[in-house]
């Protein structure tokens, strides 16, 4: 589904991604872990099409298409979804209103008829249950004055509505208490099918108790330096990142 080959990216002349290789197949959950500043969020941003980052080398194919050629909205319409680390507050635009616009633009792209108000509402009610989000929250200005947990639940709610093929969760767990974490993880798990895939970007192993990954990759200095299964995450939790840093720094030195 997704194939990243030798991806290099920089921002304002600083190289952040330094040759990433990763392949994600349908039905898989990949966790990307790593110390602060290792390039985890940059990877998520580049995949979603954030313009500040310049891809200097490498390629990304997604379902046979050159992903890097597509505008952010085209990526979304093709089924790529990014749950933001810091969801943006947008005064004056309600979640409901903007999601209706978004959903219908995605449907139009797929050659489907736009949803009428009733079907949209029915769909919304069904998806709201997944993340235990209240309708009154969704009719308010997008993320404005929301708590951290409400913002993250809103991200997963949007994901549920847009039914993406590839979801990228960028530190969705950071700053959440355990109850909010459970709700968010539960939502993600329920949305999992054999046809879609998830990339979970996280700093902490804790989330992976709830969203169990098939593969765990450790990112350091803009490269995947170690890959393994969920046991690798447990090892990282126990030993921290220093042993990996040392391993890498000695081999490169």
């Amino acid at each position: 589904m997704l194939k990243i080959t030798n991806l290099h990216a920089s921002i304002e002349g600083n190289e952040i991604l330094n040759g990433i290789n990763l392949e994600v197949k349908p039905g898989e959950v990949h966790a990307i872990m790593g110390p602060n500043g290792s390039g985890k969020s940059t990877l998520a941003s580049v995949l979603a099409g954030r313009e500040e980052y310049e891809v200097t080398d490498g390629e990304v194919t997604y379902n046979g298409k050159d992903l890097l050629e597509l505008a952010p909205e085209e990526r979304a319409r093709e089924g790529v979804f990014l749950a933001f680390q810091y969801p943006v507050e947008i005064p004056g635009v309600s979640t409901t209103n903007f999601l209706k616009t978004a959903l219908n633009q995605v449907r139009e792209h797929k050659g489907q008829e736009p949803l009428d108000a009733v079907s949209f509402l029915t769909m919304m009610k069904e998806k709201m249950k997944l993340v235990e989000i209240d309708q009154s929250l969704l009719s308010r200005s997008l993320n404005e004055g929301f708590s951290g947990g409400e913002k993250k639940r809103n991200e997963i709610f949007q994901m549920a509505m847009l039914e993406p093929t590839l979801s990228i969760l960028d530190e969705t767990d950071s700053g959440l208490d355990i109850d909010a974490l459970r709700i968010v993880a539960n939502g993600v798990n329920k949305l999992k099918t054999k046809d879609n895939a998830t990339i979970v970007v996280t700093h902490y192993q804790r989330l992976l108790d709830y969203i169990v990954p098939d593969y765990v990759h450790v990112l350091y200095k803009g490269k995947i330096v170690k890959s393994g299964t969920k046991e690798l995450a447990l090892e990282l939790e126990k030993k921290g990142y220093d042993w990996i840093k040392e391993e890498v720094d000695t081999t490169t030195a």
Partner: protein, 444 residues
């Protein structure tokens, strides 16, 4: 008197004033004419403001007017047919409709639907003869012609306009909508309508001023509206400006509030040549509440200058101001917001906010908040932001599948809605929503 006359344009008005005096004939014996004379003298002292005048720094009206108009003779009477007028009315707004052509009230074209015991509406000229006491008590008592040349000019040439009096304890349910039409079909037109709105104790009323120009020639309106909001009364005031590219406008809305009164002003500006709006409120009693909302959506070469002033004179009052602007093309916005809290006005709460979005490199905004506080126990805040559209918000919407163009419109509309949502008259709100959507190409 003649030695202080500065330039040709002031001379034109002086000549014009002499013509007015002749025309007035017997009516010049009325006390109001003494006010006119004082005002023309004040005007001659002041002269029209240039960019050197701090209050008109970014809006050189003298230059613009001098270039475009000839004020030697009074502007001819206009004639606009009923169909054209009806096309301009706000759809679905069930209101008292007052039509003014070149500043002159037209009985024939106007429709008053509120019962007579609720209010008196008449041409100001008639009121100067029939309501002498009220005119003496209120006329030109608030708009200070000694300080502002345009107020002086308007006062000197006061003839027509409206006199609206609401007695005590009346709830005027139907809004009072004043439509000012400039007839610029045969040539340039200019006029100076004058309004006096008196809202009696514990009464409530809503006023609208809407401005149009018909015809391709330039027009100039210099309007003054004095609004008296008596004790415990409530007045709402809307000003709608979606005029032609050739329309010049100077308007002063002078408000006086007595204790426990409420006043809200809503100013929507969408188009015109050069526009200057002065909104001055004297919060002159305890427990007053004042709201000032403004939205200016400018494109082309439109120049709009909003000057507002709230003067807190007595303690325990509240004022809130929210002005927002979106500037496209080569348009130019100016915001100046003065908040005075006098020493006696303890426990005042005064808030001000001005936010602007510039959509082109050639658009300009000059924003100046001005707070002067002499009391020590008050809560005041002000904020002013100017920027482009939020890139992060754009990306967020795009990342959900919304096209960049549509995301941009969603964000701009949301920016405008913060002001628009305060409009209480539903048909007016719908009308403005349509205008704004059309401007922002929300129809996609």
């Amino acid at each position: 008197m003649s030695e202080v006359i500065k330039d040709a344009i002031e001379q034109e008005f002086t000549t014009n004033f002499e013509a007015l005096e002749k025309r007035l004939n017997g009516a010049s014996a009325l006390p109001i004419h003494q006010v006119r004379k004082k005002a023309i003298n004040a005007f001659q002292e002041l002269g029209l403001p240039t960019a050197r005048n701090e209050e008109y720094k970014y809006t050189d009206l003298k230059k613009a007017l001098q270039k475009t108009f000839d004020f030697k003779a009074p502007s001819p009477q206009g004639k606009i047919n009923r169909e054209t007028i009806e096309e301009c009315l706000i759809p679905g707004l069930d209101a008292n409709i007052l039509i003014f052509i070149n500043g002159v009230f037209s009985n024939e074209l106007s429709t008053i639907i509120s019962p007579e015991d609720q209010l008196t509406i008449k041409d100001l000229e008639a009121a100067t003869m029939e309501d002498k006491e009220l005119i003496d008590n209120y006329f030109a008592q608030y708009a200070n012609y000694e300080h502002d040349a345009f107020i002086a000019l308007n006062t000197a040439f006061t003839e027509h306009g409206s006199f609206i009096h609401i007695p005590d304890n009346k709830l005027v349910e139907k809004p009072i909508a004043l439509y000012f039409f400039n007839d610029a079909q045969a040539g340039k037109s200019y006029n100076q309508p004058r309004n006096l709105f008196i809202v009696g104790k514990s009464s409530q009323a809503t006023f609208l001023e809407v401005f149009y120009t018909v015809g391709k020639h330039e027009s100039f309106t210099n309007i003054v509206s004095e609004i008296v909001v008596n004790e415990n009364a409530n007045a709402e005031y809307y000003k709608i400006q979606n005029n032609r590219d050739t329309a010049f406008h100077v308007g002063t809305t002078q408000v006086w509030q007595a204790r426990n009164s409420q006043f809200s002003a809503y100013t929507f500006t969408l188009n015109g040549a050069m526009i200057r709006n002065n909104l001055n409120i004297a919060s002159d009693g305890e427990g007053c509440e004042s709201h000032m909302y403004g939205l200016y959506l400018l494109h082309g070469k439109t120049h709009v200058d909003n000057h507002t002033e709230i003067d807190h004179i007595k303690p325990n009052s509240f004022s809130n101001e929210l002005y927002k602007g979106i500037m496209e093309d080569q348009s130019h916005g100016v915001f100046n917001g003065k908040v005075y809290v006098r020493q006696a006005a303890q426990k005042t709460n005064a808030f001000q906010s001005n936010k602007n979005i510039l959509l082109s490199d050639q658009a300009t905004i000059n924003s100046k908040p001005q707070l002067e506080i002499w009391a020590d126990d008050v809560k005041c805040s002000h904020g002013c932001t100017t920027g482009q559209l939020d890139e992060e918000a754009l990306f967020y919407l795009q990342s959900r599948g919304v096209s960049k163009e549509r995301a941009r419109v969603l964000l701009l509309y949301a920016f405008a809605v913060e002001v628009l949502e305060n409009v209480k008259l539903e048909p007016l709100k719908a009308y403005l929503e349509d205008l704004i959507s059309e401007r922002l190409h929300k129809d996609f």
